[in-house]
């Protein structure tokens, strides 16, 4: 780690530590992994934005069906291309860390599932979500009737105000009762 870690000085490390749910070792590891993705001629690693395609090559994210959404949600880039700076990268890892609170996790989960970024989970969002979860291939996907039945059931359960969509507070209400959301909504480098 020697040479790469030296760029991340003590003060910044402790600041990052205060602002995220990560430990010192995790931040250093994240920095190492991040600087491996940097192009060689790039010297100022902290402000460089790594394009989405490079991020998706990380084995931790490669198999995740929501990997593109995750990049889009955590990217603060102005052009909405899903590229991540080191700060964004740390934000991502912090939200997916062991010690992140349920509130943070459910907030980001909601934004990840909200495919059209309109602030609610509508029928289209849910349909895309189901397709992501079933792998998106022909032999595993559900028939239209099954899909309709499934989404009707979900809306019946979690759409408390019956407006045909699931909003953030409804989503958090559902998630907060789930026994294994916190343990499975994790990404470890």
């Amino acid at each position: 780690m020697g040479t790469t870690a030296s760029q991340l000085d003590k003060g910044m490390l402790s600041e990052y530590q205060e602002l995220t749910f990560l430990t010192k070792q995790e931040i250093l590891l994240a920095y190492k992994r991040f600087s491996e993705l940097l192009p060689k001629e790039e010297t100022n690693g902290l402000s460089y934005r790594i394009p989405m395609n490079a991020i998706l090559e990380l084995p931790e994210l490669k198999t995740n069906p929501f990997n593109k959404r995750i990049c889009m949600v955590f990217s603060t880039s102005d052009s909405h291309d899903g590229s991540l700076s080191f700060d964004d990268f740390l934000d991502l890892l912090s939200a997916f860390s062991d010690s992140a609170t349920l509130e943070i996790k459910s907030h980001y989960a909601f934004r990840i599932f909200d495919f059209d970024d309109d602030g609610t989970l509508g029928r289209q969002d849910l349909e895309k979500l189901v397709n992501c979860l079933t792998g998106g291939t022909v032999d595993t996907s559900l028939t239209p009737e099954e899909m309709k039945q499934l989404i009707d059931n979900i809306l019946e359960e979690s759409d408390i105000d019956k407006d045909g969509t699931v909003n953030l507070s409804e989503f958090q209400h559902v998630i907060s009762r789930s026994p294994d959301f916190v343990s499975s909504f994790k990404i470890v480098l």
């Binding site: 010192k24 700076s85 099954e146 979900i154 979690s158 789930s178 470890v188």
Partner: protein, 860 residues
């Protein structure tokens, strides 16, 4: 310059000491001022402990500068030395020259003086330059600080920081406004500031670094998902418990006896008998825990019944008894506490109202980083969705219900046959081994000697496979099938263990009869010895017989301990060997023979093995049960188990990563956690039962172990109470253990449990009620929100509404069963707007209308 440097280093040193002293003095002062808040004091001490490494770190950071300063100083010294050399040379030259010509003298001295001046000037320049350098470097650092930090922080983070600073300011302001004494204000301020300080971070870092195998487990977690990792977390938890059990037995039983007790060979129970001496060091004997291993601190029989040993007057028998009780009590406490915590964590999610939503929103395991696992997960989620839909539609046809029923009954019958067969086999084998033991083990082959353990291990290995085959007959839902499978394996292991114990009990009885005969023989032997010596000489000198020659009884406690140790060893061996053959060898064969085989080995029949989480957890649980059962008679068992768990941690981590494929059906970790814990609790209870039985009913052997000579093992408590405690204490104790006091106490506890259970039930009911009310309120809110627009629409449509009556149909929902609530609310709403509302009675509307809408009639 030199002076400056030394003061600098001195200052640094003294600041270090000073800091420590300051913190210490501060804490001491605080301690005396606020004795009540002793907690704070401990925290401060902890802080000091944390400060020391931190200070050292910062010192090393400062030390670099100091070191550089030292270099400069060295350079200066060298320069000076050079200068003095110059001077000496010149002085020599001067002398020589003086002899030649005195004229040049003055000139030379002048020159020398100039040089001296020049040198001084150079030094000054150096100093200034150094100062400049220092300033520059400081400036650079400052500028770096100024430049780097804002750049690296995103605006969000900056805002957060600002908020934190603002909060601190607000806190100080609010503190200023509080009518508290200064001291209290200071303490609160320090506390709140300390929460946000770096020391917490350091402590957290330290804590995470202390958790063993964290990285290994995380690596597995990222490959195989959380369910496989849950096994390893369970294994680590088990390791922790065993470490504590080991610490207790090792520190309070084995070490005191080994250090302070009588040495080996001093009394008969600590000596290998003459008949066994020849083979006592043979490896085969030691491997069976006979010979020297049997007559050592590893087993019950070695401990002497001296009340107090060594210069510490350590009460050995009492300690032995209390450690035995304490390990069990500690295990109960830990298991129950963990269960309660798990129940708290998962207790919220036991209602089934969000079945579909959970499947949708929380079924993906984000830890999965392996493509194969991901594919399996996709498939399992899809089937899960489909099954759920099918169940919801209730279109599942059970066309051939009679056949399924028949098959299920048949399967259970077969399983019962298996269980009975394995139980009988074990009983038979144990009885046979007793026969061999009577003959002497030397006359038999290795197999015959180790038959019991081998048969038990083999049964534990093959019966689950058999059950797996049988369960395909039943055609259950996979989750139900898994539960059945686990239940059957549990029953098998339990049955085997209990048959083993019953057989052991038989053996204990045999040994005790043998003991009676030996006792009689010993009295005869002693009498003959006495008579013999009397006849030889009349001096009453004490008879000295080597302890190895003294006849002794069969020590049944040691025998039980040995049996358990052998069982654990053979169990461990089978586990490791199946791991190596079943997983590693299979993986190697599949991998390398695949190139030259008729069919695809990787995808087809043998393929790679899956990691069987439930089977492994069950194995671990049963192993622990055996430890709990045997630990009283063999104090070495926890140590053995620690070793075993340590090795299996590394071995299984390696095996999982190199030769297992992810499971096809990935089960969630959280659901089964408490299931395993419950099994552990059952095992713990069942393994303490035989122990308690033997302790309470069977008198200990007369010539071995810490309780020899007593009628029952627990008499040691009685003895201690009588001789080591004042008389009133034993009186109090005897009153307290009086049934008249104990029974009401138990009754009180039962009542408390009943009360707590009923309150928790009522809370649950209240929860359900509140949920219903919440839904209703939301519906009513919707109606209210809709009402103004509906009324306005109605008004627009009916221009001459004055004095008229009309009706508005509001959407009616399924949840809104109690209509009067909403009517009331609508009425109040309209009253506030000075509009009178009347309602139709329900009966006036036919059912068709009612189903779709909710009638409200206005009249203005």
């Amino acid at each position: 310059m030199l002076h400056k440097n030394s003061t600098l280093s001195y200052c640094l040193q003294s600041t270090k000491i000073h800091c420590l002293l300051l913190v210490f003095a501060h804490t001491v002062r605080e301690f005396f001022f606020y004795r009540k808040e002793y907690k704070l004091f401990y925290q401060k001490i902890l802080l000091i402990c944390l400060f020391i490494p931190f200070l050292n770190e910062s010192m090393s950071f400062l030390g670099d500068e100091q070191f550089e300063g030292g270099n400069k100083e060295k350079r200066h010294r060298e320069k000076r030395r050079d200068g003095s050399k110059d001077r000496r040379k010149r002085a020599n030259a001067k002398r020589r020259e003086r002899s030649r010509a005195d004229r040049e003298n003055e000139e030379f001295e002048e020159r020398l003086g100039k040089r001296e001046k020049g040198r001084r000037g150079r030094v000054k320049n150096d100093q200034e330059a150094k100062k400049r350098d220092e300033q520059d470097s400081e400036d650079k650092e400052n500028s770096e600080d100024k430049e780097v930090k804002p750049e690296s922080l995103s605006p969000d983070e900056l805002e957060k920081l600002k908020e934190a600073v603002d909060e601190k300011k607000k806190l100080i302001q609010s503190l200023r406004g509080k009518p508290w004494p200064m001291k209290k204000k200071l303490v609160t301020l320090q506390e709140t500031l300390r929460i946000q300080s770096h020391d917490d971070q350091d402590f957290e870092n330290f804590k995470t670094a202390c958790i063993p195998w964290e990285m290994k487990i995380k690596e597995i977690e990222s490959h195989f998902g959380s369910s496989v990792a849950s096994y390893f977390i369970f294994l680590r938890w088990m390791y922790g418990i065993n470490m504590i059990l080991f610490g207790l037995t090792f520190g309070l039983v084995m070490v005191p006896e080994a250090l302070m007790g009588r040495p080996y060979g001093s009394i008969p129970r600590k000596t290998v008998p003459r008949a066994e001496e020849a083979s006592a060091m043979d490896f085969a004997v030691l491997w069976d825990f006979g010979g020297y291993a049997q007559y050592s601190v590893l087993f019950y029989g070695f401990y002497s019944n001296q009340r107090a040993i060594g210069w510490l007057k350590f009460r050995m028998p009492l300690s032995y008894f209390l450690v035995g009780v304490g390990t069990v009590a500690y295990s109960y406490m830990v298991v129950i506490r963990t269960m309660a915590r798990n129940a708290n964590e998962s207790g919220v999610g036991d209602d089934n109202s969000f079945n579909f939503s959970w499947k949708m929103f929380t079924s993906w395991d984000y830890l999965i980083g392996n493509p194969e696992t991901a594919d399996n997960k996709f498939a399992s989620i899809t089937t899960c969705f489909k099954e759920a839909i099918l169940e919801e539609q209730e279109s599942r046809k059970d066309d051939n219900i009679h056949l399924t029923r028949f098959l299920r009954v048949l399967a259970n019958f077969l399983v019962l046959c298996c269980l009975a067969g394995s139980g009988y086999l074990i009983y038979f084998v144990v009885r046979r081994s007793q026969k061999f033991a009577l003959d002497g083990f030397e006359n038999h082959t290795w197999w015959e000697r180790n038959e019991v353990n081998m048969v038990m291990s083999l049964l534990g290995m093959f019966c689950p496979m058999l059950f797996d085959v049988i369960s395909t007959l039943e055609n259950y839902h996979p989750r139900v099938a898994l539960q059945w499978q686990l239940g059957r394996i549990f029953a098998l292991f339990l049955g085997n263990l209990y048959t083993f114990i019953i057989a052991l009990m038989d053996e204990i009885n045999v040994k005790r009869e043998e003991e009676n005969i030996v006792k009689f023989n010993i009295t005869m032997w002693e009498a003959s010895l006495y008579n013999g010596t009397v006849s030889e000489n009349f001096t009453a000198s004490p008879i000295t017989i080597h302890p190895a020659d003294v006849p002794r009884g069969p020590c049944w406690e040691t025998m039980v301990g040995q049996e358990f140790v052998r069982l654990i060893i053979s169990d461990t061996m089978t586990t490791y060997i199946t791991l190596l053959i079943g997983d590693f060898l299979r993986a190697v064969l599949v991998r390398f023979l695949n190139h030259c085989w008729c069919w695809d080995l990787e995808a087809g029949f043998p393929s790679y093995s899956e990691f069987d989480v439930s089977g492994n957890v069950l194995g671990l649980i049963f192993n622990q049960g055996m430890i709990w059962m045997g630990a009283f008679y063999a104090p070495c068992l926890p140590a053995l188990n620690v070793l075993r768990l340590h090795v299996s941690m590394y071995l299984q981590c390696w095996a999982v990563m190199c030769c297992n494929v992810p499971q096809e059906r990935v089960f969630k970790a959280s659901g089964s956690n408490n299931f395993y814990m419950a099994m552990l609790l059952v095992i713990l209870f069942l393994s303490t039962l035989p122990n308690i039985y033997t302790i309470v009913t069977i008198p200990p052997s007369f010539d071995c172990g810490p309780f020899s000579g007593k009628n029952r093992m627990f008499d040691v408590i009685h003895e201690t109470l009588e001789s080591d405690f004042p008389a009133w204490f034993s009186k109090v104790f005897s009153y307290a253990s009086n049934p008249g006091l104990v029974l009401p106490f138990i009754l009180l506890m039962v009542l408390a449990i009943y009360y707590l259970q009923s309150t928790s039930k009522s809370y649950k009911e209240a929860n359900v009620e509140l949920k219903k009310k919440l839904q209703m309120v939301i519906q009513i809110m919707k109606i209210i929100l809709l009402l103004p627009t509906t009324v306005n629409n109605w008004r627009n449509n009916n221009a001459s509404f004055q004095g008229q009556e009309g009706e508005i149909l509001l959407p009616k929902s399924r949840q809104l069963e109690n209509e009067s609530y909403s009517c009331l609310i609508i009425q109040t709403y309209c009253l506030r707007r000075k509009e009178r509302v009347t309602f139709f009675s329900k009966k006036t509307y036919d059912n068709e209308v009612k189903k779709k809408s909710f009638p409200v009639v206005f009249s203005f």
